[in-house]
């Protein structure tokens, strides 16, 4: 191969990486194929579906629309970087499990990235703000309902954790439970 190459240095999930890569390599291919971080997925490769979302210096971006060289010198966070270093799931990840905010899991990493970025900026988003924040991430399994529930639950739990004084009588799972609880037999 005589492809032009470049050297890129960036921080990925807190670790410094430096690689010699094909200059035309997209960021998502760099993450998936070069670094083998396969949690980030590829859905449309034209910037619509959001499956490839990662955080670039804290902001969600489409890794399919960027070249890896454009991320040179920046900090990237992928879904693999959302959990604590000891592997404990973040409140958001755990909330997705609680409300079953996913099915096939393919859009999930991108959804988590979008939701994580939202909650970092807005600790108590309304349902409308949640829907707006994930509207750049397409999901074909869930109809978004349990994803919205998960993000609401995570916001509530994060809030509860921050403010012990604001201890509430309601169970943290009440949102999901309410929705599932229409069953009357």
């Amino acid at each position: 191969m005589n492809e032009p190459t470049s050297t890129v240095s960036m921080t990925v999930n807190g670790a410094s990486v430096q690689r010699e890569i094909a200059t035309r390599l997209s960021l998502v291919d760099f993450l998936r194929e070069t670094l083998r971080l396969t949690g980030t997925h590829v859905g449309c490769e034209h910037g619509i579906c959001g499956a490839c979302s990662v955080l670039l210096d804290g902001d969600p971006v489409r890794a399919c629309l960027m070249f890896a060289v454009q991320a040179d010198g920046h900090a990237i966070t992928t879904v693999e970087g959302l959990a604590a270093p000891d592997g404990t799931m973040s409140v958001l990840q755990d909330s997705f499990c609680e409300t079953h905010g996913l099915q096939c899991g393919y859009c999930t990493p991108g959804m988590l990235i979008a939701a994580h970025a939202l909650l970092e900026q807005n600790a108590r988003p309304s349902t409308g703000q949640i829907r707006d924040a994930i509207s750049g991430n397409l999901c074909r399994c869930t109809g978004y309902q349990q994803i919205v529930d998960a993000i609401q639950l995570a916001a509530q739990r994060r809030g509860d954790a921050v403010s012990l004084a604001a201890q509430r009588g309601g169970d943290a799972v009440s949102i999901a439970a309410q929705r599932a609880g229409d069953a009357t037999r």
Binding site: M89, Q103, G105, Y106, R131, C139, C141, A177, G181, D182
Partner: protein, 807 residues
């Protein structure tokens, strides 16, 4: 986290419990086909035809082969000579399909050659360097033209574009039409869309030359996949090992992927290296062969003044595109619910499957039922409008009553159970229907276009595939079994094994919950694995809303065998008969002396190590398999096409409130409620999730999504900028109200639910939109009901009276 207890009195079934699958996905540890990385793996890119119909005269591959990193260029001539054609679902042996065109291209986007290179990027570069000499031929894209005898032929050797045509008549249809007070006829049209998963098709193949085994990792959901791959490659079935433990990134019916698999399998064997093909989105949309039904319905209905429906006639012309596959069979499934949930004693059904020069159709969620439900519900609403009768009164009058089950419909299928009136009432109550009526009327008074839609639809589930013999006399398929193997190892841990892949349906949770229920052991500790196809038991894959019924039933059957063995071991060692012991939480004790007991661990130890303590004639080791046949399956259709096709019938009633912006045609769904009865839910979160997702698919099909083709056969919506998938802003908050009528035919009373939401959604949305348009005196019976289509109708309705006035 809190676990809500089962509303059905089970220990685990029906309880709110986390799934087994979710943690790996939220931490980025799923393993999808594109994540499979094999040493020395090569990559494929496709050369596709720009013409809908053309002869492939010659290739110039010189420049491509000269590009560093390019290993091979495969053309149709080589591949078609080396493998057998792919499976055809109807009796049409001359409609041959290969992964690469056999010299004649039949749709724009059809694959004509494949480039293999060291990277995907190089392979794609090389595609640009290949020159193909095409000789364009005449083409046909209109199904009503294609069906004519004098039309251009997509497969000239077949002699016609018609793949299947038959007129079924069940009951005295003509008599009913002659005697009824009223008759109506209209046309409904279901546009071409699909469930379009976010993951495209991916297939990886490796030829293990030492063992002469083909290893496959693919993103698939396909009945008989290993067998079809083996047959086409002229290999024995035991030379194909499909790794079903690959996570599939969504399918909803479409991930069939046989051609993708054959291509990489052939190349891997030929080149002696692992080969991967990963579709890009445009390839997926135009050449992935996953477009859904594309139908014209000519509906006729005969009914009396009091609203009693006497008979209907359904004529369905389905445009399946350029090849057959299983697509014609999607006209077959509706036979199993041909009168919907209504008491209609006489039905005529005339399906025609016709080929055109378009991307081939494949199975889509519901297998042809969603379009049919849409057409049937549009019919019910038209009858109501014709009689100026309340739609709910009309529905309640004709819905099959709770006390009439099991109910045999004219086409020979018996519905197992249901309480349609109760589910409809629950949905209306949850939607606050009376308040909605008030709101709609207020909106209308304020000059807005507002409407309420209600649908009452069936989901046939647990399919036994008897549309195959119905649509192909040479096919005698009467079983569509599924199976499970269960073992308890020496440590006492339980493992369930099954032989198909999953695409988000939560099969591991399903099996673990069922095993936990039977063994009375916590499902959290139960492992469930996907065996590869050489280790697996018979399976027909998760199609036709069948896994809760079939895999659930198989898992329970296998677990019960092991439980019987444990009871026999306990009884033998306690010195009492099996009738004198009780099994509880894994322990076996003497019923009248509970202190005389053997624990789970002791029973397991005996079964694995202490043959001297085993009852005579009982097999040591704790392993059992169970192959579960579809309940009510096993019979061939009658001469007049009556057949029991599905055992279980789930029911859903949607209530939708819509307002349409008259200036833009944009409909906004302001309230969405689904009443749903799929019997006993094994995991309510999973069932609700699939239902929400089905509704979203329904919203897409009803309002946004269309694989549009130009008159010259070009796909116009090959990207997500033209093919519009609803986002969280288009899909409203959805409320589900559950109801449970257990099936008498299944292990725990469960029915299927994988197609829920999608089967009643488009019907209800169409109903709401037509209610909104009603004051304008206009209506629509075609999907997608796009903004433009609605805007045009609204404008015409407003302009016409003015023109009349002017005249």
């Amino acid at each position: 986290m809190a676990e809500k207890t089962s509303p059905y009195g089970f220990r685990y079934i029906g309880a709110k419990r986390r799934t087994k699958e979710d943690p790996r996905f939220v931490t980025g540890r799923g393993r999808f086909a594109a994540d499979v990385q094999l040493p020395g793996m090569l990559h494929v890119a496709i050369v596709a035809s720009p013409y809908p119909s053309a002869r492939v005269k010659a290739f110039d591959t010189t420049a491509a082969l000269a590009l560093p990193g390019v290993r091979y260029v495969l053309t149709g001539a080589e591949l078609c000579a080396a493998i057998d054609p792919m499976y055809v679902g109807v009796d049409a042996p001359k409609v041959k399909r290969y992964p690469l065109a056999d010299g004649l291209v039949r749709y724009a986007g059809e694959w004509v050659a494949a480039v293999v290179a060291e990277t995907r990027a190089i392979a794609e570069d090389a595609v640009e360097l290949i020159e193909v000499d095409f000789e364009p031929q005449p083409h046909v894209v209109d199904p009503e033209v294609a069906v004519r005898a004098d039309s251009v032929k997509v497969h000239p050797e077949h002699g016609s574009n018609v793949l299947f045509h038959r007129k079924f008549v069940w009951g005295d249809v003509d008599g009913a039409f002659a005697r009824a007070d009223h008759r109506l006829a209209f046309r409904a049209r279901w546009g071409r869309s699909a469930t379009v998963p976010i993951e495209t098709f991916v297939a990886v193949a490796q030829w293990d030359a030492g063992n002469e085994i083909l290893d496959i990792w693919a993103s698939i959901q396909m009945p008989k996949y290993p067998d079809q791959v083996a047959r086409a490659l002229r290999l024995p079935g035991n030379a194909v090992r499909v790794h079903f433990d690959v996570d599939v990134g969504g399918s909803y019916g479409v991930k069939r992927g046989i051609k993708h698999t054959l291509l990489v399998a052939y190349l891997a064997r030929k080149l002696g290296a692992p080969v991967r093909f990963l579709e890009d989105r445009l390839e997926n949309m135009r050449g992935g062969d996953m477009h859904g039904p594309d139908r014209i319905f000519d509906m006729q209905v005969a009914f009396d003044q009091d609203g009693t429906i006497r008979a209907w006639k359904i004529k369905a012309l389905d445009d399946v595109g350029a090849y057959a596959g299983r697509s014609p069979l999607q006209l077959g499934k509706p036979v199993s619910a041909i009168c919907g949930p209504y008491r209609i004693p006489a039905v005529e059904y005339e399906p025609t499957s016709v080929m055109t020069h378009k991307t081939p159709q494949e199975a889509v969620r519901g297998f042809g039922q969603a379009p049919t439900n849409f057409a049937m519900e549009c019919t019910i609403d038209r009858v109501a409008r014709h009689l100026r009768m309340d739609r709910l009164v009309l529905r309640r009058k004709n819905l099959i009553r709770k006390d009439e089950f099991p109910y045999r419909i004219p086409s020979g299928t018996t519905y197992d159970s249901g309480d349609y009136h109760a589910v409809l009432d629950k949905a209306l109550a949850a939607a606050n229907y009376d308040e909605l009526l008030h709101r709609r009327d207020e909106a209308r008074r304020a000059g807005r276009l507002a409407g309420i839609g209600v649908s009452t639809c069936l989901e046939p589930s647990g399919g036994n595939s008897s549309f195959e013999p119905l649509f192909n006399p040479k096919n005698e398929t009467t079983t569509w079994m599924d199976s499970c193997l269960v073992r308890v190892d020496l440590t006492g841990a339980i493992t369930g094994v099954f032989g198909t892949s999953s695409a988000g349906q939560g099969h591991q949770t399903l099996v673990a919950t069922v095993l936990g229920e039977v063994f009375e052991r916590d499902p959290a500790g139960i492992r469930v694995i996907h065996a590869d196809s050489l280790n697996a038991l018979p399976s027909n894959s998760p199609v036709g809303s069948r896994m809760a019924i079939m895999l659930g039933g198989a898992a329970a059957g296998a677990a019960r065998q092991i439980k019987e063995t444990l009871i026999a071991i306990g009884a033998h060692n306690l010195g009492v008969g099996v009738d004198g012991v009780t099994y509880r939480d894994g322990d076996v004790f003497a019923t009248i002396h509970p202190e005389k007991r053997l624990t789970w661990d002791q029973l397991v130890e005996i079964a694995h190590r202490k043959y001297h303590r085993m009852p005579p004639g009982v097999e040591p080791g704790l392993q059992a398999k169970f192959v579960w046949e579809v309940p009510t399956g096993g019979t061939m259709p009658t001469e007049d096409g009556q057949v029991q096709m599905y055992p279980c019938y789930s029911f859903e009633s949607h209530v939708v409130y819509v307002e349409i912006d008259p200036d833009t045609g944009k409909p906004v769904l302001q309230r969405y409620v689904v009443g749903h009865d799929c019997g006993v839910m094994i995991n309510p979160d999973i069932v609700h999730g699939m239902t929400y997702g089905g509704v979203a698919h329904g919203i897409g099909a009803a309002l946004y999504e269309k694989f549009a083709f130009s008159d010259d056969g070009q796909l116009l919506s090959g990207t997500f900028m033209d093919y519009l998938i609803p986002s969280a802003l288009e899909v409203p908050e959805i409320r589900i109200v559950d109801h449970c009528t257990p099936s008498p035919l299944t292990t725990f009373g469960q029915k299927g639910s994988g197609e829920a939401g999608y089967l009643g959604g488009p019907a209800a949305i169409a109903c709401a939109i037509n209610d909104a348009l009603d004051p304008l005196g206009t209506e629509i019976a075609e999907t997608p009901m796009s903004h433009l289509a609605l805007w045009t109708l609204i404008r015409d309705a407003r302009v016409k009276p003015q023109l009349k006035d002017a005249a």
